[in-house]
Amino acid sequence: MAQTYLHPAREQSAALKALKKRRRGGAAPYLFIFPWIFGFLVFTLGPLLFSLVISFFDWPIVGKVTFIGLGNYVEMFTDDPLFWKSLMVTLKFAVLFVPLNIIVALGLAMLLNQKVRGSAIFRTAFYLPSVISGVALAMIWSWVYSGDYGILNYFLSIFGIQGPDWLNDTKWSLVAMVVASLWGQGSMMLIFLAGLKGIPKDLYESASIDGAGKLRQFVSVTVPMITPTILFNLITSIIAAFQQLTLALLLTGGGPMKATYFYAMYMYENAFKYFKMGYSAANAWFMFLIVLTLTFLVFKSSEAWVFYEGEMKRGPQKKPKPAKGGRVG
């Protein structure tokens, strides 16, 4: 670039301006993002709207299509015990799974974040189960949970505990499902680990100079600093809980006595077992609304508990958040 070197500064900036203009230039950017736009319309937005439309129809896969207005939704809420049952199962699962998932992932990440030898090996051990397919995971756990020959009950028998037939026991099957899901928590752990590594060391140093013990440091330094990561993982976990289908299909088939009949499975069966496409679309939209509402609530509440470091450090450079009812001037 010896050429530019010779240019006077003004001319150079004029050249840059021209470049900036070209960067904005015409149809080119739309051509580049066209694949996404097309895919979005055809595989996401189109289906999303279409599923809303068919949710107002009685729409069997073959046969006559009839408009029934809110009929599907009315039936769902008033005349379908399975809807309520599966919703309750999913909520129960979420209540157990979401907090445990976060606690396990954060706990493992904190263990790994210490100065220990071979932490890469331990990290690999915790992450490995997340690499394999959900089908493989289900096959392995159905064998681990086997009532008569399973390794879990053998392990318990060492301590003199007679384990149940996990997957066929109405009391235990959902718990078994939670545990099997926790086994695949790896990515969440990695996200937490990165969050922990991002906490500046001097915060701990000054905390300990101020006389804060380990527990105090955890509560006052670690937790506030990783709240953004917790938020991200919380939302991902909630969505994952509502989408739980593979394990239900392969481990228990929704049984015993519908004890693990997840909402996603209910939806799946309505569509692909009973071929009630319209009804299943209504189920899907209801789930979508629940997930959106929960995500929105988590986000809303996050204003109270999530702490963004950037807001303090770089506050003035960023667009200031408008105060309630106020305006950004």
């Binding site: 979005f40 051990a125 189960p129 064998w143 990165a194 989408q243």
Partner: protein, 270 residues
């Protein structure tokens, strides 16, 4: 003292995480007689490596492997091409509606697949694509939000002076992308390829919904149908489970540092 406790916890917990995998491998090597013993034997008295070949031949797993490879390779190629183009478009141009469109890209990550699953099924049914591998491949050629986001973030970190130098030398926009940007995107493209290959190889619900005929099955679907089949014993199921887990595990070991870094970056900046 404190360190000892940490090590103890780490060792015990990692054993806990590895135990089911280990149990699957040793089960795959057992003879039928040793399968149903209580207390179970961790290590079989004879390692029956023939179990793997026997199990593989019970169903046309070679065919399933071929299908899986076709889907995995073509869809990964599709993601790489389409997401690079789109990410470049978002990262390097200023155009009307860019921020809104990018917000929509991010928002689509929140849409559960179950919501679009039924219309997609009907769409593919209308096109006559049900029971072909197309529904598992074609959408990958139109980008996916997460990868677009990932690649865009990466391109943003590359200095613009590079593009500008090439532009001054008369390179067109596509040439800049191919000659300047792509050669620098190595790590992030590997990350996309690795994630997509794993997702695709491990995918179960897609094949379950879009494929009916056994000749079209992928490996995961083949394995899932295996359970409860007449004459299929637990050691065969575990043998196939182990075999189909090898490629993702191998990819993981090969690309571990990309994966760890890649997953980490999503949570923080995301």
């Amino acid at each position: 003292m404190k360190k000892t406790l940490s090590y103890l916890a780490l060792i015990l917990l990692s054993l806990l995480f590895i135990a089911p995998l280990f149990w699957a491998i040793t089960t795959a090597l057992k003879s039928p007689q040793e399968l149903y013993l209580f207390p179970p034997k961790w290590i079989p008295s004879v390692f029956r490596f023939s179990n793997f070949a026997d199990a593989w031949n019970i169903q046309p797993f070679n065919l399933f492997l071929k299908n899986t490879l076709i889907v995995t390779l073509l869809s990964t190629l599709g993601q790489l091409v389409s997401c690079t183009l789109v990410a470049y478009g978002f990262a390097r141009f200023e155009f009307k509606g860019r921020n809104l469109l990018f917000l929509i890209v991010l928002a689509t990550m929140m849409i559960p697949w179950e919501v679009t699953m039924i219309p997609q099924y009907m769409e593919f049914n209308y096109l006559g694509w049900i029971n072909t591998l197309k529904p598992l491949i074609v959408p990958s050629w139109f980008g996916s939000a997460y990868f677009i986001f990932l690649l865009r973030q990466f391109i943003m970190t590359l200095p613009r002076e590079l593009d500008e130098a090439a532009t001054i030398d008369g390179a067109g926009k596509l040439t800049v992308l191919m000659r300047v940007i792509v050669p620098l995107m190595g790590p992030s493209l590997i990350l996309v390829a690795v994630f997509q290959m794993m997702n695709c190889w491990n995918d179960y619900l897609g094949p379950l919904i879009f494929l009916n005929d056994q000749t079209k099955y992928t490996l995961t679907l083949g394995l899932s149908q295996f359970k409860g089949m007449y004459g299929v014993d637990m050691q065969s199921i575990m043998a196939i489970t182990c075999l189909i887990s090898i490629p993702p595990l191998a990819i993981f070991f090969f690309a571990q540092r990309y994966i760890v870094g890649g997953i980490a970056s999503t949570g923080i900046k995301g």
